[in-house]
């Protein structure tokens, strides 16, 4: 599990350390440079001081005295109030043009030949020590002045400077990290509060979340969560209702089965037995139909799951469905007619649901048709809708019944029906953005019309 706190902290500390490293490098470079400048200036100045001293016209024995005086003064260099350990690491040496050494300090490295380069340079002496060197040539006075300083003096200094700045930086960084850790925790507190609230909830609770105060960053989360909770609640409610309805509606078919089974047991004659058996079989068929319709309804119901809609030709779909239904209608001595203009009727729908709707409408029509009745299916256009109508020659509908017809499980006294057909068609109509209307036409019977919006893109 990734923790936002750890993530943020890792990033911040990483950035801080990188910044610190870059700063330190610059610092080191800068210190080196500045130290070099100051020291180089000192070297040059020392060389000029020597030059000033050596310019004095001296006899050769005086050179020896001068040399001894220098040596004496330099040998008194001891660490303490009047001296510094680094003094020993600074050296000089003076030659004349013939290469004879005029003066030199004891700490000066030995040379096979006097250096020829002028100005500043870095050299390594015979004992592999690194020197920073300044050579001044005074042709007028026949002098070649060499002033050198051991490199480790400077390195030591740079080292100290860096060490003295680095440690406070590292310590400061650690303290800053601790403070950042606390700050992130404080910043993330609303999130932690939300988590605590969620944890404290009863696991089955579907009540909407009400966090106060709610930071703006968490608003979309709470909204999404509440939307989801509401959806779950709706789905659960629907499921519960559906199960209750289904159980309720299965009671009557079960009662039918039980009553006829008991009648069968007590039947006195062969004819009575056959009658009861016929009722039993019809009852089983009816229960199966009910179960099938319940399943269809269950599949259609969750409106959250919208079916994938394609542009389909309604006339083609209807013709295919009717072809499937025809043998059944003929076996019930009913006739079927389909009227539609010979052109495509494009709608955004799903062929499967159209088939279910038409099946239900035609089955209804068949159940209320008189013997040898004609069922007329028509496809027509009315403004932005295609109207798929199924008309029978039955008794039509009572105005008193009209309101209840779309209720689930209301079956108009039709024994075979589960009372779900029109409810299913209604659900489908709603899904497709259309509607279902029932009319008693003047010529008699009932006309059920499913109106589906025209697919304008085709």
């Amino acid at each position: 599990m990734t923790s936002i706190r750890r993530r943020t902290l890792t990033l911040i500390i990483g950035l801080m350390l990188t910044g610190l490293a870059i700063l330190s490098v610059f610092n080191l470079h800068d210190s080196n440079h500045e130290i070099a400048e100051v020291y180089d200036a000192q070297l040059a100045q020392n060389a000029r001081l020597l030059q000033g001293v050596m310019r004095m016209p001296l006899a050769s024995h005086e050179h020896a005295e001068l040399y001894q005086a220098f040596n004496k003064a330099l040998s008194e260099a001891v660490p303490g109030v009047d001296g510094h350990p680094y003094e020993g690491k600074i050296a000089f040496q003076v030659w004349n043009s013939k290469g004879e050494v005029l003066v030199h300090t004891a700490s000066a490295p030995s040379f096979t030949v006097p250096p020829t380069t002028h100005g500043f340079s870095d050299v390594v002496d015979l004992s592999s020590r690194h020197w920073r060197v300044f050579v001044l040539e005074d042709k007028e006075n026949d002098l070649r002045i060499w002033v050198g300083e051991r490199d480790d003096v400077r390195a030591d200094l740079v080292d100290r400077i860096v060490r003295h700045t680095l440690w406070p930086n590292v310590l400061g960084s650690l303290m800053l990290a601790a403070m950042v850790w606390l700050a992130i925790g404080w910043g993330l507190k609303p999130l932690a509060d939300m988590a605590a609230t969620l944890r404290a909830r009863h696991s089955g609770s579907l009540e909407p979340l009400q966090l106060t105060p709610l930071p703006s960053e968490l608003e979309p989360m709470q909204a999404a969560l509440n939307r989801m909770l509401a959806q779950i609640q709706e789905v659960l409610g629907r499921e519960r209702r559906f199960i209750a309805d289904a159980a309720h509606e299965l009671r009557t078919p079960l009662a039918v089965l039980r009553v006829h089974a008991q009648n069968l047991l007590e039947a006195g004659t062969e004819q009575e037995r056959r009658e009861s058996l016929a009722f039993l079989i019809a009852g089983v068929d009816r229960a199966s139909r009910l179960v099938n319709q319940l399943l269809t309804m269950a599949r259609l119901e969750p409106k959250a799951v919208t079916p994938v809609l394609h542009s389909i030709d309604l006339s083609e779909t209807v013709r295919a469905s009717l072809a499937q239904l025809t043998p059944w209608l003929l076996s019930r001595n009913l006739e079927l007619a389909f009227d539609a203009e010979d052109r495509p009727f494009k709608v955004l729908a799903d062929a499967g649901t159209i088939d279910i709707a038409l099946n239900n409408l035609v089955t209804n029509a068949a159940n209320f048709s008189p013997e040898h009745g004609v069922i007329t299916v028509q496809l027509s256009q009315d403004d932005g809708f295609y109207n798929l109508s199924v008309q029978d020659q039955g008794p039509g509908i009572d105005e008193a019944d009209r309101a209840r017809l779309f209720e689930r499980f209301y079956s108009r006294g039709n024994t075979g029906g589960a009372g779900l057909g029109l409810a299913i068609v209604n659900t489908i109509a709603t899904q497709l953005g259309g509607r279902i209307t029932l009319v008693n036409p003047p010529e008699g019977g009932l006309r059920a019309t499913l109106s589906i919006p025209v697919d304008r893109h085709h």
């Binding site: 007590e266 009861s276 006294g413």
Partner: protein, 220 residues
């Protein structure tokens, strides 16, 4: 016993009609609420079996209006509404009993017998009068300890006259009881049944009140 069955489900109605007919009831069957209420108010029944989800008028409404009219008719509600509040609503609307689908026919028959017994003002299972003992559960009848064989119509007639004795039963009431709406009957069949009953028990068991009907006297 004349029973009005109010059930809109054809298959279930058929089954109950058949079973109760075999039990000796004269069953009249209606499939919608408003017709049922009309019949209940205008005709005489011994008991009614009432479904609740009915077309045109809900069963509870039928029951309420029946009770408002002052009827004491025993009513058994037979429904798929099984929630406790539904049962309470049904009983409070004036039902005498409440049975939930699916149900056992034997239980329905037993409950109907109990309702009829109570409505006749008896708690005892057996009907005893003047040496006659009638058992509604088995439909067996004995006279002075000896079993007597009766046809279903004779049994119904005797049962009606004995529950309880002392009431004058009109000819029309007894004819409706025996034949309901469905069976066609000869005009003198009632007299034939009465004659048979007098023969099987005693000639003075049933008194004829001329122009009115018949009566089994309370104490003899």
């Amino acid at each position: 016993m004349r029973l009005l069955l109010i059930e809109d489900d054809v298959a279930l109605g058929e089954g109950i009609h058949q079973a109760l007919g075999r039990e000796g009831y004269t069953v009249d069957w209606l499939q919608d609420g408003s017709n049922a209420l009309h019949s209940l108010l205008s005709e005489t029944f011994d008991v009614a079996v009432l479904d609740l989800g009915l077309p045109r008028m809900d069963g509870l409404e039928v029951l309420r209006r029946l009770r408002d009219s002052g009827s004491n008719l025993p009513v058994l509600i037979l429904t798929s509404r099984d929630a406790t509040e539904d049962r309470i609503a049904g009983l409070d609307a004036g039902a005498d009993d409440y049975l939930v689908k699916p149900f056992d026919l034997a239980e329905l028959k037993a409950r109907l017998r109990a309702l009829l017994r109570r409505s006749a003002g008896r708690a005892q299972v057996l009907i005893e009068h003047a040496g006659i003992c009638l058992n509604p559960g088995t439909q067996q009848v004995s006279y002075q300890g000896e079993p007597v064989a009766l046809t279903p119509k004779e049994y119904q007639l005797l049962h009606e006259l004995l529950s309880p004795p002392g009431r004058v039963m009109t000819r029309d009431h007894l004819m409706q009881l025996l034949y309901g709406w469905n069976e066609e009957a000869e005009s003198n069949t009632l007299e034939v049944h009465i004659h048979h009953l007098r023969k099987k028990f005693s000639t003075d068991l049933i008194r004829t009140i001329r122009g009115v009907g018949y009566l089994v006297e309370e104490r003899r």
